[in-house]
């Protein structure tokens, strides 16, 4: 019993300490963003590895998710004779939920894990301490550009995901199943609100980009500098990012779409 309590106390203590380190790390990173502006080259390089390399997985997944929504939506809606509203269903579910959430999960899996592994390895091979020895701040030089790149890429990727998905739904809906193309687009335009749906979706993806990049970078920076430590940190990045993204999504949805 005593042992259990001791264990519980220790776990609580470690997790709060870690949260504290994470917050301190975040503040340092935010502070370092100022210096990224003076060195845009670093940001471009990271936009390439975080954004461009995630481009393919995001667009292809978006296309398939949109196609599945088109199929499933058609089967359900045609029962009620409402297959004309397929466009609304596909667009609303993509723009409000699936676009930001699924692209953030893919982002955490594709870019987040890579960031953690990269920084964890830099730490394990003592590159970070090497930089400190040369009076180069690793936070400013390594972390902040990656963080900013993550925040910039995420809304762009989510928008691409939704756009490609809506086109995928249209290909299936009106190309294969015979929903009227005009109705698909016009019903969608009548029901999807720019302020309520599109802007809120972008806000969501900004939040997810922020959280996913923060977790990935912190886990890498905080990893135990051994090969096992790095591998554990990478796993934690994916798991924690997924939890945070889905949990935050619930909160954001409740805040944003509460009144209708």
């Amino acid at each position: 019993m005593i042992e259990f309590l001791q264990h519980l106390g220790k776990e609580t203590h470690t997790s709060f300490t870690k949260l504290g380190r994470g917050t301190y790390f975040l503040l340092q990173t935010l502070n370092g963003i100022v210096s990224v502006v003076t060195r845009p080259r670093l940001l471009i390089n990271q936009l390439y590895s975080v954004g461009v390399l995630s481009f393919l997985i995001i667009t292809i997944s978006g296309l398939f998710v949109g196609m599945v929504l088109g199929l499933q939506g058609y089967y359900i809606l045609s029962d009620f004779g409402a297959d004309e509203t397929l466009g609304v269903m596909v667009a609303a579910s993509l723009v409000r939920e699936l676009g930001p959430v699924v692209s953030a999960l893919l982002f955490a899996g594709r870019a987040g894990s890579a960031l953690t592994a990269e920084i964890g390895l830099m730490k394990a091979t003592e590159q970070l301490s090497g930089m400190e020895m040369m009076a180069v701040d690793p936070i400013k030089r390594i972390i902040s550009p990656r963080f900013l790149a993550g925040i910039i890429s995420m809304p762009l990727l989510a928008a691409l995901f939704s756009a490609v998905g809506i086109i995928g739904g249209q290909i299936i809906g009106s190309g294969l199943l015979g929903v009227d193309e005009g109705a698909y687009w016009s019903q969608m335009q009548a029901k999807i609100d720019f302020q309520d749906d599109i802007i809120n979706g972008i806000i969501k993806s900004l939040v997810f980009g922020f959280v996913a990049s923060w977790i990935a970078l912190f886990e890498g920076y905080d990893a135990i500098p051994t090969s096992e430590g790095v591998s554990r940190a990478t796993t934690r990045t994916v798991v924690n990012s997924a939890f945070s993204i889905l949990g935050l999504d619930f909160i954001l949805t409740a805040l944003m779409f509460g009144d209708n």
């Binding site: 471009i44 390089n45 936009l47 390439y48 954004g51 461009v52 481009f55 667009a91 723009v95 910039i152 890429s153 809304p155 762009l156 990727l157 928008a159 691409l160 939704s162 756009a163 490609v164 809506i166 687009w185 969608m188 335009q189 009548a190 029901k191 999807i192 609100d193 720019f194 749906d197 599109i198 979706g201 972008i202």
Partner: protein
């Protein structure tokens, strides 16, 4: 150096395609393209019951959208529903004896305000009131009346 150039191009393409995606969402998917903050004027209509009417519901005349509902409130003195209608300024020739009724688009569709122009030569102005209104048809009420009536007939 060649390598960085390709990288720059790819990053440029990525950002551009992301912006194209956003633009597509804004213009093709949402109502931004039809959402032009036109000049409009407000008129009020009092309904005995405005049913499922909501803010942003459509206001139409002869089946054409001419404005939208901007506010709905309950008048605690007359027990009526006060509905404010925002009508686009270019449609400023509605006679002051226009009738407003709450209709439903389709059997289960959304409710909207239909304006039926009268024959007066005076026009409704900003802040004007629609005197003749017809309430929403409440399905339960109509069904209740029907059942009541058919029970009466059986006797």
């Amino acid at each position: 150096m060649q390598h960085t150039n390709t990288q720059d191009t790819l990053v440029g393409l990525f950002v551009a395609s992301g912006i194209v995606g956003l633009f597509f969402l804004a213009m093709q998917v949402s109502n931004l393209s039809s959402f032009t903050e036109n000049e409009s004027y407000t008129i009020t209509a009092r309904f005995e019951n405005s049913g499922g009417l909501k803010v942003k519901s459509l206001v139409s005349a002869a089946g054409v959208k001419i404005g939208k509902v901007s506010a709905i409130s309950f008048d605690p003195k007359t027990y009526e529903s006060v509905v404010q209608l925002n009508i686009e300024s270019k449609y400023n020739t509605l006679p002051d004896d226009t009738t407003a009724s709450v209709f439903t688009a389709g059997l289960l569709g959304e409710q909207y305000v239909n304006l039926e122009p009268g024959g007066s030569s005076d026009y409704l102005k900003n802040g004007g009131k629609i005197e003749i209104t017809q309430s929403a048809i409440i399905l339960e009420k109509a069904l209740g009346q029907f059942l009541f009536k058919s029970a009466e007939e059986k006797k």
